[in-house]
């Protein structure tokens, strides 16, 4: 914990979160749908998704949310300080898409008892299409 505290104390506004690339493997996504009991046909049926104007089945926001969270927790290495995440889904992600996670620290608020770190992130596919974006709040109490 002391090691982490010294790392978090070194965080600065503008600091970049190490980027990450993930390919949404079709088989993995299918197994995920089975695991969580997905029923929304937009995530299961290509025909249904196409009727709604999509190219293929749409990868669920929940699945993408899972991967974003993993990316952040892998970076901060202390899940206890991860307090909030707002995520907006801008464009669909389809199975076999490769997505890239990008983010940086946009604000740091130091008070007597706590430090709040705000990060903005975005996720792109094909390096140009933004599929998600959002903000993350990390909170460190001075007693930690």
């Amino acid at each position: 914990m002391k090691e982490f505290n010294s790392k978090i104390n070194d965080f600065v506004i503008g600091q970049v979160i190490p980027s990450s690339k993930v390919k949404i493997d079709k088989k993995t996504y299918k197994n995920y749908n089975r695991l969580i009991g997905e029923i929304n046909p937009i995530h299961l049926s290509k025909k249904y998704a196409q009727n709604l104007g999509f190219d293929d089945i749409v990868v669920a926001g929940n699945f993408l949310f899972s991967i974003v969270n993993k990316w952040i927790v892998d970076w901060i290495k202390d899940v206890k300080i991860f307090k909030k995440i707002s995520i907006k889904f801008e464009n669909p992600v389809y199975p076999d898409d490769e997505i890239t996670f990008l983010g940086k620290i946009s604000n740091i608020d130091n008070s007597e008892n706590e430090k709040i770190i705000i990060c903005n992130f975005k996720v792109k596919k094909s390096n140009t299409i933004e599929v998600m974006n959002g903000t993350i709040e990390l909170k460190i109490n001075s007693n930690d």
Binding site: L35, I36, N62, K84, I85, K88, F89, G134
Partner: protein, 164 residues
């Protein structure tokens, strides 16, 4: 036509509210096997989700739910609500489907595995919006995870839009 749409949206909202009211507070226990499988699927090797000893070393009472899994828990209950609504819920053909557009999630305490929690669901009023592709409505399910003393562990404000 416009009034028909608004009536359908109002009835849809009312139906959902009635179902949520009947739903009440649902009890859940986080299944550690499900979490282990999930971690394997997304290549998450963080032992705080898999091993009590490792979680203790990290300052936690025991292994915890990956924050990324929380939304999977909340969605299950939203789907239960839709299933309870039955085929008539989307039978109007005016509401073509629901698309999850954004979520605001807040974590208050680590969510321990194998502990009993309660799920509380609340629903916003539908909000009419205009987009590039026409009119749509937005509705937010607020899902809270509580313990038996009603302490809040996490909240997901799960926003759906439904195109008309």
């Amino acid at each position: 036509m416009k009034n028909d749409v608004e009536i359908i949206i109002r009835d849809f909202h009312k139906t959902l509210l009635n179902i949520i009211d009947d739903f009440g507070l649902k009890e859940i226990i986080i299944n550690e096997n499900e979490i282990a499988e999930f971690c394997n699927l997304i290549n998450d090797n963080n032992l705080i989700y898999l091993d009590d000893g490792s979680a203790n070393e990290a300052g936690l009472e025991g292994k915890i739910l990956p924050p990324g899994y929380f939304m999977n828990l909340t969605t299950k209950f939203i789907y239960e609500i839709f299933i309870k609504g039955g085929p008539d819920l989307f039978a109007s053909k005016i509401i073509k489907g629901l698309i999850h557009t954004n979520s605001d999630v807040e974590f208050f305490k680590p969510i321990l595995m194998n502990k009993k929690y309660k799920i509380k669901i609340e629903l916003s009023n539908p909000l009419k919006k205009e987009g590039a592709k026409g009119t749509y409505y937005s509705i937010i399910f607020q899902i809270s995870l509580l313990d038996n003393e009603f302490n809040v562990y996490a909240v997901d404000n799960h926003d759906f839009f439904f195109p008309i």
